[in-house]
């Protein structure tokens, strides 16, 4: 079986003016001095297009923190990639947006932490909400695809109706409502952020009703909190199946959290070409087929649908990256999840910890 990568997630920097309590970036971040140069990135984009990659997601950290962003967009578009910018908006204004659009930016995904300024700034650990509101006005006036991303968790899920109405007002064509996923910094704040079952059930109904009401106006994607799922998510649609991530220092990973897995050597684009990395590197082949699977995955009917779930989560929660994702109710380690859910559904929420920016 051969796999064609479709999307390149380029984490062009870990620097970020926000300090979100649910940041999914690794707990150890790359410093500015380790970042790939403009020419390094351009070479990566060209190799990516040759491999069959269609979409380039420029993310971070905050991608606008790089002063060469326009050049990177132009080069990516020149390599025939579809250009997505995933941003907090901090560092953007009208003239920079016009520059990015002229360079070929196709789509902008702007994050909001809440509909209200107080909580939004509290969750972000930064006063950024008012700026984001102004940016939404600027973006909607232009002909560019516009998605609003709203991260939801225990502290704002009860106001989901308001959050959706707020997203409508921004003029976005698409709303991504993303429950926090527990990797990186977010894992440290898990018990402050995981919603209760009651909150989750109510939110599912709200999303369904909103989808019906907003048909043809705004599409809604909903990222489920997988701790509450019966079966695991098909993480990255399979390890090394469709997506490739490059971190700020040039390391290639099958997903953004994979650095936590011990014993894997992630190849660097400074030393290897992307084709070798994708096709031949041991790291990308480690969990690619089904040969690594233990029971109950190995004989499970769902194994080609969910690929045994997330390898990083298996390591983080079961201590073994080659175990069934403990989220799965068939996993022998599922009690780990049940314990957490019991605590979250029984106790008051805990306090969270803010993260600091890498220098």
């Amino acid at each position: 079986m051969t796999y064609t990568p479709r999307a390149l997630i380029a984490e062009i920097t870990h620097r970020c003016p926000l300090h979100c309590v649910y940041c999914s970036n690794p707990q150890e971040m790359q410093r500015r001095s380790e970042e790939l140069s403009t020419a390094d990135w351009i070479s990566v984009f060209e190799q990516a297009a040759d491999l069959g990659i269609l979409q380039l997601h420029l993310t971070g950290g905050e991608p606008l923190s790089r002063s060469d962003l326009t050049e990177l967009v132009r080069a990516g578009r020149g390599a025939r990639l579809y250009l997505n910018l995933i941003t907090s908006g901090v560092g953007l204004d009208e003239s920079r947006l016009d520059e990015l659009m002229a360079a070929g930016l196709d789509h902008i995904q702007l994050s909001f932490q809440d509909s209200e300024e107080g909580p939004a700034n509290e969750f972000a650990g930064t006063r950024s909400h008012a700026l984001k509101l102004r940016l939404a006005q600027i973006i909607r006036k232009r002909r560019i695809a516009f998605t609003v991303n709203m991260v939801v968790h225990r502290r704002n899920l009860d106001r989901l109706n308001e959050l959706i109405e707020f997203a409508e007002q921004t003029g976005a064509q698409r709303l991504e409502i993303a429950n926090v996923q527990y990797y990186g910094w977010a894992l440290r704040n898990r018990e402050a952020l995981l919603p209760t079952r009651q909150q989750l059930d109510a939110s599912i109904e709200i999303v369904e009703a909103a989808r019906e009401r907003l048909k043809g106006k705004m599409r809604i994607d909903f990222v489920f909190p997988d701790y509450y799922a019966k079966y695991p998510k098909p993480c990255m649609n399979g390890w090394g199946h469709q997506q490739l991530l490059i971190d700020p220092a040039g390391r290639a990973l099958p997903c953004h959290a994979a650095m936590v897995i011990p014993g894997l050597e992630f190849p660097n684009t400074r030393e290897h070409d992307l084709r070798w990395i994708w096709e031949d590197s041991p790291a990308f082949n480690r969990f690619r087929d089904e040969s690594w699977m233990p029971e109950p995955c190995r004989s499970c009917d769902r194994r080609a649908r969910d690929f045994g779930g997330c390898r990083c989560q298996a390591f983080l929660l079961a201590g073994d990256a080659a175990a069934t994702d403990p989220v799965c109710t068939l996993s022998s380690k599922h009690a780990v999840i049940e314990d957490i859910l019991q605590r979250v559904n029984g106790d008051a929420a805990r306090q969270w910890v803010y993260r600091m920016d890498p220098s």
Binding site: R6, A7, L54, Q55, R80, Y82, N84, D106, H107, Q109, R143, I144, A145, F146, T147, Q173, R174, G216, R219, D221
Partner: protein, 93 residues
């Protein structure tokens, strides 16, 4: 098609565009990924340039596929554009 429908001018929504022609597959690139275009779908989408009316597009297609039934071409083109419109990748100027 009603007269009103015939005069509508479709174009791709912002952030939606065709991949380069002549590759191994015909794709419509969109913010969430790509839609695979089968059969004559690429030709139909290419005609939606924000200048042609629906009637112009159907006429062009009928010229392009002279051996197909004209009524069938119209039905299929209109149905495809309606699906794309519902999916949010096509709009009317």
């Amino acid at each position: 098609m009603s007269v009103m429908e015939r005069n509508r001018v479709p174009r791709l929504a912002p952030g939606c565009r065709l991949n380069a022609a002549g590759g191994p597959e015909d794709l419509l690139l969109i913010p969430e990924g790509a839609l695979r275009l089968r059969g004559p779908a690429r030709v139909i989408v290419e005609l939606c340039n924000g200048e042609r009316t629906l009637a112009d597009i159907v006429e062009e297609l009928q010229r392009h596929y002279p051996s197909a039934q004209p009524a069938r071409i119209e039905t299929e083109a209109v149905a495809l554009l309606a699906r794309l419109r519902e999916r949010g990748v096509l709009e009317y100027t």
